[in-house]
């Protein structure tokens, strides 16, 4: 079994060595949704982790302390290898160092340079390719005892590319009015397989094929998104959201949107495991290079100006009413700089933006009343802005 992170997830490569794949962030969020993370976090804090650090890490460490019983109640095997894809988040490095320190798991580092200048320079790509060839693949071969077969990798990548094509079509369906999907809360279910252990599997490709068919049908029928309380019929607000969702109160959080007729048409979170909507696809003809490109292009690996460009583009292309930032207390990678993102996006688009603060999996930092208040006044603001714009024309 292997463990690796969602951004920079090299699922196709891990499958080449017959590894089962576990993603600690996904375990943490599953535990969050099942209301188990609060205890894990406190256990980890009792074990010496600071209250200040990323709660994903603590939820994971707490789960391991509790005997490594996974979110579903079934035991999780200890990983044979930790593939430290150091992509867009510094905490990843410490996270796997902590697990290695405590449980002695072997770790292999894949250092993905940051797009500090807003682009992938050739030396960055070469560096990642070289690490894959000279460090990562040989280590995976040794630990698994399986020899690397590049044609097997190509085959998985063919599957990935097909699924990616369909995923993009699904996410971009939100450009329609009404949007047939929710591109944040709903998108969590759409990105689930492809951002985790299933990208490259024929089953995943099929899932996306079916999903796309269903969504296209909804577009033809002029239907809105499905929510936990059924179909949303009256689309009043179209939003772009930046930042990961809160998991401990995921349903309540979502309800605050659809109750008001707000649909998220695009989100940056739906790109954490790969930015596909600007054209990138896994390329079976250049498999290793394309793995490198994939890692380098993950959302959290983009610099702040690129993130702002992307959000402004979404607001324009998806005809959104504005931007909502869900700032996560845990997550410096996303959060540090978001207030500037907010200002810049407002300045460039002229659309109102709002800021709320929650956490990923620490229930202590989700204040439903505060969030609801903020959202309500934000919707009021959008309404007022609409009236003002209409009057001006």
């Amino acid at each position: 079994m292997s463990a690796t992170f969602v951004p920079g997830n090299l699922n196709e490569l891990l499958m080449c060595f017959d590894f089962a794949r576990s993603l600690p962030e996904t375990n943490a969020l599953q535990n969050g949704m099942r209301k188990k993370s609060g205890k894990f976090i406190m256990d980890a804090e009792r074990d010496g982790q600071s209250e200040d650090v990323c709660t994903y890490v603590k939820a994971d460490l707490g789960m391991m302390l509790g005997g490594e019983v996974g979110p579903t109640g079934d035991p999780l095997p200890t990983p044979d290898i930790l593939l430290l894809s150091y992509t867009g988040c510094f905490t990843f490095m410490k996270w796997f160092e902590l697990i290695r320190h405590k449980y002695g798991c072997e770790t292999v580092m894949l250092h993905v340079p940051y797009q500090g200048e807003g682009k992938v320079a050739p030396n960055m790509r070469d560096y990642v390719v070289k690490q894959l060839k000279e460090t990562v693949i040989p280590t995976l071969e040794r630990v698994s005892g399986v020899k690397f077969d590049i044609d097997r990798l190509r085959q998985y990548m063919r599957e990935s590319a097909k699924a990616e094509e369909d995923l993009v079509a699904v996410l971009q369906s939100a450009k329609n009015r009404p949007s047939p999907i929710d591109g944040y809360f709903g998108a969590v279910y759409y990105i689930g397989p492809i951002f985790t252990a299933f990208r490259g599997m024929p089953e995943a490709t099929q899932y996306y094929h079916v999903l796309r068919g269903e969504i296209e049908e909804r577009v033809r029928a002029g239907k809105g998104p499905i929510t936990p309380d059924g179909e949303m019929t009256d689309e009043k607000y179209r939003l772009v959201v930046e930042g990961p969702p809160n998991w401990t109160s995921f349903r309540d959080f979502w309800k605050m949107f659809y109750d008001e007729g707000a649909v998220v048409v695009a989100s940056t979170y739906a790109k954490v495991g790969g930015v596909y909507d600007f054209g990138f696809r896994h390329d079976p003809d250049h498999p290793i290079e394309s793995l490198a490109e994939y890692c380098l292009g993950c959302y959290t690996n983009l610099n702040l100006p690129s993130r702002i460009d992307m959000i402004c583009r979404y607001i324009d292309e998806y005809q959104a009413d504005g931007l909502l930032i869900n700032s996560i207390k845990s997550c410096n990678s996303f959060s540090a700089g978001q207030l500037l993102v907010l200002r810049e996006v407002e300045k460039r688009t002229g659309k109102p933006a709002a800021f709320i603060e929650t956490d990923l999996v620490d229930p202590r930092y989700f204040s439903a009343a505060n969030v609801k208040n903020r959202l309500e006044s934000y919707f009021q603001m959008i309404k007022a802005k609409r009236v003002a714009t209409a009057a001006a024309h």
Binding site: D47, G48, Q49, S50, D52, V53, C54, V57, L84, Y86, C89, F90, T91, M93, K94, W95, E97, L98, R100, H101, G104, T107, M109, H111, P113, Y114, G116, E117, A121, N123, M124, D126, Y127, K130, Q131, E134, T135, N303, L304, P305, S306, R307, I308, S327, K329, N332, S333, S335, A336, G337, Q338, L339, L340, E344, E357
Partner: protein, 392 residues
Amino acid sequence: MANVPPVIAIVERCQALFDDLDFNAVKQWKAAAPGRKAIGYMPVYVPRELVHAAGMLPVGILGGGDQLEVIQGDAYYQSYICRIPRSTIELGLTGRLDCLDGMLFPSICDVIRNLSGMWQILFPNKFVRYIDVPQNYEDAVGGKFYVSELEILRDELAKLRGAPITDAEIDASIRVYNDNRAAIRDLYAYRAVKPWQAPTAEVYLVLRAGMVLPPEEHTQLVREYIAAADALPRPKRDNARVVLTGGFCEQPPLALIKSIEMSGCYIVDDDFMLVTRWLLDDVPAHGQPLEELSKAFLHRSASTAAKYDAKREDKGQFLLHQVKTRGAEGVVFAAPSFCDPALLERPMLQDVLAKHTVPYTAFKYAENTGQMAPIREQAGTFADSIKLWSAA
């Protein structure tokens, strides 16, 4: 004036440099010759040799400390993010960093990383570069990448000055910094032997002076300080000898360092301003400067939370080495609040220390922490327990 002992005069000069949030020393250096440029850099490490080789002054930017009133900077950061980026933005927005022609943001954590992009937006006319350092330590892999990054930096600095930077120039700068590192190694060795003669509050200020002075002048200053400190006998106290760790980025207020010392601890090693001691020995300076800088980084550099430990056994070895070689009796973990690198690293380091029966204590601070009493009390209790422990 005539009666002020030289060591005090030196420390006063360093204190004045430290207090000057307008960076007048930098302005004066620039004004002394036409066309001079200064480049700021943040913790932990940048290859200052390249900036120096371009004829520019590298300037260490370590936040605003406890004297700067942060007004605008707070509007850019949520409450759960450390202080150093907001006070640095405050310095920038209030024009205090106008004397800098550019800023380098090293790869230390996601906060500084994102700050590099913020700087690009807030100061569009300035040279800004994110400095990535390898987390793979093989010469042919991480080394190759690092050399190519150094090439890019060298080219950009050359563009800024309007002329290429030669290998010979970089070699000359490497020699200058080798001297500086040697002087600082001597300073640290001296303090470890006679911590009552060179209190850390002073050593810290001497090191801080190196953030704004040209390295040649700073080397001289460090040497003078060692001589002057040795010339003035000071009372030796029965203090516990400790290593202070965790302060590699956001700085504790000077009063906090003093408090720890007053509470009965001699700080015999630390991780302040690691840029001055990052490369552990002399970098060879004969013809292949970028490769040598890279090798020194990969194989002979200090350890901090911002750097990946390739093997589990490596974790904590740098700190243990500090403890052993300096004859320390304990470790004080002092980390900035909300500092993911320092705080995530801490439990691992503590575990290593526990296995080697090295006592430790831990607390958090912010650069503007005002209340010293709790820290004094905690450090005092720690010092007492060490003494009891060693007496037993």
